[in-house]
Structures are given as structure tokens and as C-alpha cells.
């Protein structure tokens, strides 16, 4: 065993470049997976912390239909029902001027009821108890005071007694005085407080413009408590839920996004696996004489297997270690991209740092090592077939590979077919769709060698005619060294087809989105609160504003919409329903529907009649069909069931949207406010002039922004592009791994062909022509990968668009790939392959013909 170890170690040392490429392949594959996992987990950890920080030890919460409940309910709860461990809470997002306009969470609490629930007000060991006591006294005794963490105060150079100017829902400008600074004892509370401002409940009501209302009542109920009975006795429009139920629903929002990201992160590892296979199988071929000698000296097949596997394990271990370190560093960048998307699309989460998770590292290490061993398995088994006497010629090995080509191609076809069958199964599982995708991808990768041989043979007459003997030799040597070139080209095909597939999907999505925006954004100007995404609307719009706006010069029509979250009791595991209530159809009847049961297709009449329409993702998540077209919402008057008149195409949120007429909304919800306003201008009116007039006039101190149709459209597309930014990084990394694969294959080819190159030099081939031969070989490999990647990528895009997207997000989109993307893909494959040829070409130019001839 020691001898085997020594042999492996020396071989690795002698083949430094090959070994380095192996290590790099594993390292990058592991690093990408680890980085994404760390980013996902860090975002989840930050979200959990944020949830824990505001729920504390709460076991149940009483919430209202549209986000608020009367304060009187809290009084009744304590006096009539005797629930003493209860605390009123107002939760809202505000913007703080002194913190650079940063959006913060405002938590209104009753300091006297708070102790059992949260630890913010507990004095940390070592903190000055007198200062804390003074801070709490000021907080309770003085109105309009705020408590914030000492860390946060230090960050913005704030001190007790300073004033904060804030912008809140229904209150564009209020001031709060810092009563004191908090230093909570536990790390979680300290971190949570960096995002939080604490005010007493009365101040919160005043700041948030909700006199007599609170957001919820937190409860700590013993197990024996009859929750059902309490729920039954609550007034209409209120319900009791558990905090975990709420958090789970929120968490579930981003689950599909994270899963898809994780699947994509596996791509680099998959490509890396091909690279490992290539390196190990090359090392087996190269060491056949040594393996033969070992066999003749009495080494068993098992020992030869161990010898080869040991190499993979040793290099795999080094690569994995590097990958873990690199992944942790890359995680810092990935977490920013992931949390940005989660903020844009789902919920607010601030990730201050990457949480180094042991499970992630362990999983990364296992995946790296197992992938290395798995990829080395076939070559290691092949090593055991080395005969004790004599050496199998390389040409015979290649002939064997060529003979096996039909078998591999049949396996490839079977894999593609089974992928198709998996997709046709009656299932909505995302995992199953991803498995089908992987099967199709692997099948396509296995088709690469036959395609390579066909292309090499097909192109040979043309290259021969154009480039003479070099043009004849290059395609033949690529086809004859199939065991090397086939795998490298398969890895590159895999990568480039994924690039093509994802690009085509993104392009289709973008086209669909742009079309949708054209239909939906019919107005000239949109007025809405400044938003940082993640459902954090800071300001509600005064219901009188539309009438004021209508009086302005040049305004032809004013449309307003209310957007709130309401509860659907039948779907407790899903997040609250995003209800949108417009008073005017700004699409002027152009809205497109997946299906519509409204008589004469007049959906607006159906809305006016009390029916609702829902978006595609909404229907997908709740299985709403023309036959199952009822949805119950918790209104201010209690649960009410609405009939769904149709399902419309909408790309606002993958959680889905329910639309009802504003007059119907007003009937069921006691909420006078608005969320956005759309303005149609009279023909010939200068949009920019009106915008300027609005920004400097009516809207100047309202916390509202006015955007032109063009600006809003651009903003939507910016968020769209930002969402897919991480996929660009992942695709680039996969290309780097594939590049290493081609480089490794070329180096292998070169090592094997050194003698042949020496003969060519002796026969009169100049160094330049030899370089040209290398570039022609590598170019052909790149071209094969590029050409094959286009159809495979299109199939991938179709699966992504029609299966994975639908299953993950419920969106349907038209297939509209950008043809330039296909040309780019071929270009990427060619450039990657040619770039991989630079070093081998340089080496070949500086090759000593004499020593090359001597090498055999």
C-alpha cells in the first residue's frame, strides 16, 4: 500500500500541469456549490433571525384582515378573556433621514407587556444599568421617543437626545428623539436590533398614522389553552395564527428560487466531473506500461484499482480543500446577489455576513471527494484490465473507443428519451423536472463523441483543400483521439448548451415581460411610494390625491389602485394574498388571459359585479381552474368567498396577484388609502414637464415618487436583469471549468503526440504549422461543442420555460430566444477552445524536435 501511495505521489509530481488542472476543476466545482449554499443559508439565517427578533417567545398572533386590528381588541383580550401574556405590536417600515434614507423596521411595543416576549430591554452584563434605566424611563415617560441599538447609533454617529426625521406609512414626516441606546445581552438580539427602531405603542400609532389600531397582538399561550375557542370568539376580520406558520409561508416564497440556483450551481461540478474523468483516464492510458509491469510483478487487479483511485482521491482532496476555501470567499459575493434578488422579489432580508455553515462545508467536501472518486471509477476499472505482459497500443484503445461509439450513442438516446418520459409524468415536482433536465443534458453530452467524429470526417475534405496537410491531419487526430477529445468536447457542450438554454430562457422571459409591460403599463405617469422591494411599502397614499391630481393641467385620466396583503384561510401554508384593487382598467381591455369565463370576455364587468381575477402564479399555487374557481378571503366582515372569473398573465410577483374592483374592495375592507396612481396625459402634453411639476409641487413632501412610463419600464427591466445576474456569474464559472477541461485534454493529447510532433518537425513541418495544427484541432473541438450546444440549449430552454418555470413559479412565457445568442454561444465555445489551445500551441512551438523524437 505504501508503495502504491509512493507511485501515485510521484506520478502526480511528474505530471504537475495535469494534476493542477484536475485540482482546479474540482476546486471550482466545489467552490461554486459551496458559495451558493452559503449564500442561500446566510440569507435564510438572516431571515430567521429577523423573524425571531420580532416574534421572540410568541406562540400565537392575532392578526387582522388587511394588516391591522383595533386596539380595543387587546383590551378585551386581557379583560374579557383573561389572556395576560399578551402584547400589542405595531410593525411598519419607515425611512430614516439621518441614516442616509435607509429603510428600517419600526416596532411599536408596550414596554410594560413586553418582558415575557422579547429581550431587547434586558440589560446586558457589563452595560451601565443606570444608563439603561434612564433610557427606559425616558422611553416610557416621554412621547415620541425611540430606542435603538448602541451599534446602530455608533454606525451613524447618533447619541441620546438626537432627533431622527422619519417617513412612515400615512405620515410623510415625523420626528423622534433618541431616548437611549440598547445593548442587548444576546448576539441574536444585538444583530436584529441593527435593523430595528423601538417606540412605544402610542408613538407608533401616531407615527404610522394608525390611531386606535395595532398590527397584531402577540400571545404566549400554554399548550393546554383552547386556541380554537379563542379563534371562534374573535370578531369578524381577525384570525389567530402561529408565527412559524407566517414565517414558513414567507420562507416558501423564495424556496423555488433557491432550489433553481442550487441546481445551477451543480453545473460547474458536473463539468468538473468530466474533467476529472478525462484526467484520470489519460493517466491510466499513459501509465499502461507501468501498470503492465506492476501486473507482471504480481500486483493484483484490486491493487491497480486502488492505485488509480488513490490518485483521484489525493487530487480530489486537495481540490476539495481549495474549493471549500474559495467557496467561502466567493460566498461573500454570492450572498450579495442572492439577498438582493430576495429583497427585490420576495421579502426584506439584510445579510450582514456569510454564515460559515459546517453542514455546507461538510457537504461540499463530500461532494468534491465523491465526484472525484465517481469520475475516476471507470478509468480505474479500465486499469484493472491491463494485461500483465505487453502494453495495449494507444491506437487499439482508440479503436475500442470508436467501436463502443454506437453503444454510447444508444445510451445517450435512451437517456434523452427517459428525460422526456420523466417530463411527461403527471407531476408538479420541481426536483423531477430538474432530474429530467439533467438526464437530457447527460444524454446530449454522451452524443457529443459521435457528433465530433461525424463533423471531423465531414469537415476534413474542406480543411484539407484549404489548409493542405495540416487541414487533413487536425480533424483526423481529433477523431482518432476520441477518448481524450470526446470527453473534453462533451464538457464544453454541456456548459455552452446550458449557457444557450438559460440565455434563451432569459431572453424569452424578457421578451414576454416587455410585451406584458406594453399591455399593462398603458398610462403615461405612475405615482407610487418609494419602495425597496420585498413588500416593504413605506407610505400609503392619501385618498384625496387623485382628485387633486385630476385638476392639474394636461391630465386626461387618473386611475388609482390599492394593493394590500389579505389572508386566505383555506391556504394557511401560503403567504397572504397580494390583493390589487384598481378603479380603472388602465390596460383598456387589452389584458391577456389564460382563461376567462366572463360573459363576452368583459372581465371588467365581472370585476364590477363582485368577481375577481387572479394571476397565473396565483392560480398555479392554489390550483384554481374554471371548475374550481372559488377563493375565500378574510375580509373586515369575516371570510367571504369570491368567484374567480379568469386567470390573467402577470409577471409582477411569482406569489401571484388577486385583482378585484376597487369599489368591491371598499365594500369588504375598511381601508381608505391608495397604493399607486396612474395618470394619462392629454395628447401633446410634455411628460417631463408634468413630472417636474409633480416632483417639485404636490409630491415634494409626500414620500411618493413619480415616474414616466419609460422610467418605470426601465426600472422593472433593471430588477429583472439584476435577478439573473447571479446566473451570469455561474455560467461564466462553468465556462472556466470547461475551458480547463479542453486545456487538460489538449495537454494530454500533446503529451501523447510529442513523438509524432517530433517526426513532423523532422519531416519539415515548421513550428508555426505545428501551432496551426493545434489551433485547428482545438478550433474543431470548440466548433463541435458550439454547434451541438445550440440544439441542446434550445431543448434545455424549452424544458426550463415550459416545465421548470411553470412548476417553480407558475409563469408561462412565449419561447422567444435571441438568435444572436446562438451565434454568441458558438463564438464562446470557439473562443474558449482556442484560448485553451494557446498554451499547448506555445509549448509545441518551443518543442525540441530531438527530444520529441527520443520520447516514446
Amino acid at each position: 500500500m505504501v508503495a502504491l501511495f509512493r507511485l501515485t505521489q510521484r506520478y502526480i509530481r511528474r505530471r504537475r500541469m495535469q494534476s493542477l488542472l484536475f485540482v482546479l476543476g474540482v476546486a471550482l466545482g466545489v467552490a461554486v456549490g459551496v458559495a451558493i449554499d452559503l449564500a442561500n443559508r446566510s440569507a435564510s439565517a438572516a431571515f430567521d433571525l429577523s423573524v425571531r427578533s420580532v416574534t421572540g417567545r410568541t406562540t400565537h398572533q392575532i392578526v387582522g384582515a388587511s394588516g391591522s386590528i383595533p386596539t380595543s381588541l387587546y383590551t378585551r383580550l386581557r379583560s374579557d378573556w383573561g389572556v395576560r401574556t399578551s402584547a400589542p405590536v405595531i410593525e411598519s417600515y419607515i425611512r430614516v433621514e439621518e441614516m442616509g434614507g435607509r429603510s428600517m423596521r419600526l416596532l411599536g411595543i408596550d414596554p410594560l407587556a413586553e418582558a415575557p416576549f422579547r429581550d431587547y430591554l434586558t440589560v446586558a452584563p457589563g452595560a451601565d444599568p443606570d444608563a439603561t434605566a434612564q433610557a427606559l424611563y425616558n422611553f416610557v415617560a416621554q412621547p415620541n421617543t425611540v430606542l435603538l441599538s448602541a451599534d446602530l447609533a455608533a454606525q451613524y454617529a447618533l447619541a441620546p437626545g438626537d432627533t431622527l426625521t422619519i417617513q412612515a406609512r400615512k405620515n410623510p414626516r415625523a420626528t423622534l428623539v433618541i431616548a437611549g441606546l440598547l445593548t442587548p445581552q444576546d448576539k441574536a438580539s444585538r444583530q436584529a436590533l441593527r435593523e430595528l427602531l423601538l417606540v412605544d405603542i402610542a408613538t407608533a400609532q401616531e407615527v404610522a398614522g394608525q390611531p386606535g389600531e395595532i398590527s397584531r397582538i402577540d400571545l404566549i399561550l400554554p399548550d393546554s389553552f383552547d386556541v380554537e375557542q379563542l379563534a371562534a370568539s374573535l370578531p369578524a376580520g381577525t384570525t389567530i395564527i402561529t408565527p412559524s406558520q407566517n414565517a414558513d409561508a414567507l420562507r416558501q416564497m423564495a424556496a423555488a428560487f433557491k432550489l433553481n440556483l442550487q441546481a445551477l450551481s451543480l453545473l460547474a461540478l458536473l463539468v468538473g466531473m468530466f474533467l476529472i474523468y478525462n484526467t484520470v483516464s489519460f493517466s491510466v492510458v499513459q501509465r499502461r506500461p507501468v501498470l503492465g509491469i506492476l501486473r507482471s510483478l504480481g500486483a493484483t487487479r484490486q491493487q491497480l484499482f486502488i492505485l488509480v483511485a488513490l490518485e483521484a482521491i489525493m487530487l480530489g482532496a486537495i481540490g476539495t480543500g481549495l474549493g471549500l476555501a474559495l467557496g467561502t470567499v466567493m460566498g461573500q459575493g454570492a450572498v450579495r446577489l442572492v439577498s438582493q434578488t430576495i429583497n427585490d422579489l420576495y421579502f426584506r432580508v439584510t445579510v450582514e455576513q456569510v454564515t460559515i455553515n459546517q453542514e455546507t462545508l461538510l457537504r461540499g467536501a463530500l461532494i468534491g471527494l465523491l465526484t472525484s472518486v465517481f469520475a475516476a471509477l471507470l478509468p480505474a476499472l479500465e486499469a484493472t484490465t491491463t494485461p500483465p505482459v505487453g502494453v495495449i497500443q494507444r491506437s487499439r484503445l482508440e479503436q475500442r473507443t470508436l467501436r463502443r461509439l454506437p453503444v454510447w450513442s444508444a445510451v445517450a438516446a435512451a437517456l434523452v428519451a427517459s428525460g422526456y418520459v420523466l417530463l411527461r409524468l403527471d407531476s408538479e415536482s420541481i426536483m423531477l423536472a430538474l432530474a429530467a433536465l439533467l438526464t437530457v443534458l447527460l444524454g446530449s453530452a454522451l452524443l457529443t463523441p459521435i457528433f465530433l467524429v461525424a463533423l471531423a470526417r465531414g469537415i476534413s475534405p474542406a480543411t484539407s483543400c484549404l489548409l493542405g496537410v495540416v487541414g487533413r491531419m487536425a480533424p483526423r487526430s481529433v477523431a482518432r483521439s476520441l477518448s481524450r477529445t470526446g470527453i473534453a468536447v462533451a464538457a464544453l457542450t454541456l456548459t455552452v448548451s446550458t449557457v444557450v438554454g438559460i440565455s434563451a430562457m432569459i431572453s424569452s422571459f424578457r421578451t414576454t415581460l416587455t410585451d406584458w409591460l406594453t399591455v399593462t403599463l398603458g398610462a403615461d405617469i405612475y405615482i407610487s411610494p418609494y419602495s425597496e422591494g420585498g413588500n416593504s411599502v413605506a407610505v400609503d397614499i392619501d385618498p384625496e390625491l387623485p382628485a387633486t391630481l385630476a385638476k392639474l393641467n394636461g391630465i386626461a385620466r387618473v386611475a388609482s389602485v390599492r394593493s394590500v396583503n389579505v389572508r386566505a384561510p383555506d391556504y394557511p401554508a401560503l403567504p397572504p394574498v397580494n390583493l390589487v384593487a384598481p378603479d380603472v382598467d388602465i390596460t383598456d381591455g387589452k389584458r391577456r388571459f389564460a382563461w376567462l369565463t366572463a360573459p363576452g370576455g368583459d372581465f371588467w364587468a365581472a370585476l364590477e359585479g363582485g368577481q375577481v381575477i387572479v394571476s397565473e402564479p396565483f392560480a398555479h399555487r392554489r390550483h384554481i381552474t374554471p371548475a374550481q374557481n372559488q377563493i375565500t378571503l378574510l375580509t373586515e366582515h369575516g371570510p367571504h368567498t369570491f368567484t374567480v372569473a379568469g386567470v390573467f398573465y402577470d409577471y409582477t410577483t411569482d406569489q401571484g396577484t388577486l385583482m378585484m374592483h376597487y369599489s368591491v374592495y371598499k365594500h369588504y375592507f375598511d381601508d381608505p388609502y391608495l397604493s399607486a396612481i396612474a395618470l394619462d396625459l392629454q395628447p401633446g402634453t410634455d411628460v417631463e414637464r408634468v413630472l417636474e411639476q409633480l416632483r417639485t409641487g404636490i409630491l415634494s413632501s409626500t414620500g411618493l415618487q413619480a415616474q414616466s412610463n419609460r422610467q418605470l419600464r426601465a426600472n422593472v427591466l433593471t430588477i429583472f436583469d439584476r435577478t439573473f445576474a447571479i446566473t451570469v456569474a455561474l455560467r461564466l464559472l462553468a465556462i472556466v471549468v470547461a475551458f480547463i477541461g479542453i486545456l487538460s485534454a489538449l495537454m494530454a493529447l500533446q503529451l501523447e503526440n510529442t513523438h509524432e510532433y517530433g517526426i513532423l518537425r523532422a519531416t519539415g513541418m515548421t513550428p508555426r504549422k505545428l501551432s496551426a495544427l493545434t489551433f485547428l484541432q482545438t478550433g474543431l473541438m470548440g466548433l463541435t461543442a458550439g454547434l451541438l450546444a445550440v440544439p441542446v440549449g434550445v431543448i434545455l430552454a424549452i424544458i426550463l420555460i415550459y416545465e421548470i418555470n411553470v412548476r417553480s413559479f407558475g409563469w408561462s412565457m412565449s419561447f422567444a430566444p435571441d438568435p444572436a445568442g446562438f451565434i454568441q454561444a458558438i463564438g464562446v465555445a470557439l473562443i474558449a477552445a482556442l484560448a485553451a489551445g494557446v498554451y499547448p500551441a506555445w509549448r509545441i512551438r518551443t518543442l525540441s524536435a530531438a527530444s520529441a523524437i527520443r520520447s516514446e
Binding site: S395, G468, V469, R472, M473, R476, S477, R480, H755, E756, G758, I759, L760, R761, A762, T763, G764, M765, T766, P767, R768, K769, S848, A849, A850, I853, E856
Partner: protein, 245 residues
């Protein structure tokens, strides 16, 4: 001691030295070699394995460069040429036959033979005409389309001879051309090589450790420990050399 010839030399080697680094020591393979070879002459370089025969052939062909000294072929000092110029000179003026045939596996028999001409940029048609003529001469006209791995060792070496002669080089270098063949095939290949070179008036320098080749040569040069030690101009005078090997 310099060698002198009656006919004008096609090859003139003067004070050539070559050392290789072996570990940390410098190992002199050729020491102060001076030699002249006349046009049309058949010279055998006789020496044991490791004596420096192949190194000398590599230097003559320009595959390798000497540390000191000059090598002039047909008036051109190849030691002063760049790598590329040496390659082109070799392509145009020198034919090489190797011990292990060294055919290019990705080229057919015909294509292997036409390779030097094609590298020179000559028309495919012309190359093929020349190659087919040579294929007939080496008795392999029916194997033109085969790849080298379909040929026996003797057949492969016959193809290699045809490849070495196709560009009508002034100088043909053969490094142990029979070393990898059985005696019957060895004899056939040797006969073919000498016949074709003599017929075309080419100069042939053959490195070998096989003394039975000696009777066919015009001159035999013994190489030992990197030095040319003896030479003979007639088969009679080298008979004593045969007995020493």
C-alpha cells in the same frame, strides 16, 4: 584528424561538439568532430548504442544544434540558421529514415509519402504522382490508401524510405533503419534504400551498430565515446572493423 575526399563534399562538419546535461553533470556526447562527405557517397556510421551516432545524425539534419562547430550542407552553414530556416532547409534538402519508421498514424500511406512535398506547398496532383511512382518502386502501390497501423514493420519502413526520398534530397540520413526489423525484412529494406539512393545519386549516411551493413558502404566511420576514431574507403579495408564489433 580531418578526413579528406577526392570529390567535392556535400557535407562538411567542422569541430562539432555536443554535450547534454545529465543530472547536474555535463555529459559530452560528441567531441570535436570533423568530417566531410562527398556527393553520392554512402557512409556508414558504426558504433555501439550510446556512442553518439544518432546525436550526430540529429545535428546533421538540424533537428538538434551543436554547442560548438559548423555543419555545412551543400554550401549552407545550418548552425547559423534559425529554427524555422533549419526546418525548411531540412524539408527541402534532407531525407530521414528512422529506426521505428515513425509514420504519422493519422495519414494514409500515400499521404505520409507526400507529406514533405505538401509541406513545401507543391500541388496535390504533383505530390501524388511522385508518391505513386515511389510506391511502385517500394512495391506498395496497392497500399496507398491504408493507414500505417495496417502495415507490417517492413512495409512501414519501405513507406518511410519513400517519404525520405520524395523531395529528392541531396542528403539521406538513416538511423538504424533495419534495427526494428527481422533479418529478412532488414535485408530487403537495406537493398531498397541503397538501390534508390545510388540510382538517384544521393548521399546516404547510415548510423548502425550492425556490421553486416558495412560491405555495402563506400566508407565506414567508427564512432566511439563521441569521437570519430577510424575510417575506411573500401570494403576490404574495413573488414578488420567488422571483427571488432
Amino acid at each position: 584528424m580531418p578526413f579528406s575526399l577526392a570529390r567535392p563534399p556535400v557535407l562538411h562538419i567542422q569541430s562539432v561538439q555536443k554535450t547534454y546535461a545529465s543530472g547536474c553533470a555535463q555529459c559530452a556526447v560528441l567531441r570535436d568532430i570533423t568530417l566531410e562527405v562527398a556527393a553520392g557517397e554512402f557512409v556508414v556510421l558504426l558504433g555501439a548504442s550510446g556512442s553518439g551516432k544518432s546525436t550526430l545524425l540529429n545535428l546533421i539534419s538540424g533537428i538538434d544544434q551543436p554547442d560548438h562547430g559548423r555543419i555545412v550542407i551543400d554550401g549552407t552553414d545550418i548552425t547559423r540558421l534559425s529554427e524555422t530556416a533549419r526546418t525548411i532547409f531540412r524539408r527541402d534538402h534532407i531525407g530521414i529514415v528512422f529506426q521505428f519508421f515513425n509514420l504519422i498514424p493519422t495519414l494514409t500511406v500515400l499521404e505520409n509519402i507526400t507529406l514533405p512535398l505538401e509541406l513545401r506547398g507543391e500541388s496535390r496532383r504533383h505530390c501524388e504522382e511522385q508518391a505513386r511512382h515511389l510506391l511502385r518502386r517500394v512495391g506498395l502501390e496497392d497500399r496507398a490508401g491504408d493507414f500505417p497501423d495496417k502495415l507490417s514493420g517492413g512495409e512501414q519502413q519501405r513507406v518511410a524510405i519513400a517519404r525520405a526520398l520524395i523531395q529528392q534530397p541531396e542528403l539521406v540520413l538513416a538511423d538504424e533503419p533495419t534495427g526494428n526489423l527481422d533479418s529478412e525484412n532488414g535485408k530487403r529494406v537495406l537493398a531498397l534504400l541503397t538501390e534508390l539512393t545510388r540510382e538517384a545519386g544521393r548521399t546516404l549516411i547510415m548510423a548502425t551498430h550492425d556490421p553486416t551493413i558495412v560491405p555495402l558502404a563506400d566508407r565506414v566511420i567508427r564512432i566511439q565515446d563521441g569521437q570519430l576514431q577510424e575510417q575506411a574507403h573500401t570494403t576490404e579495408s574495413i573488414l578488420p572493423l567488422i571483427s571488432t564489433n
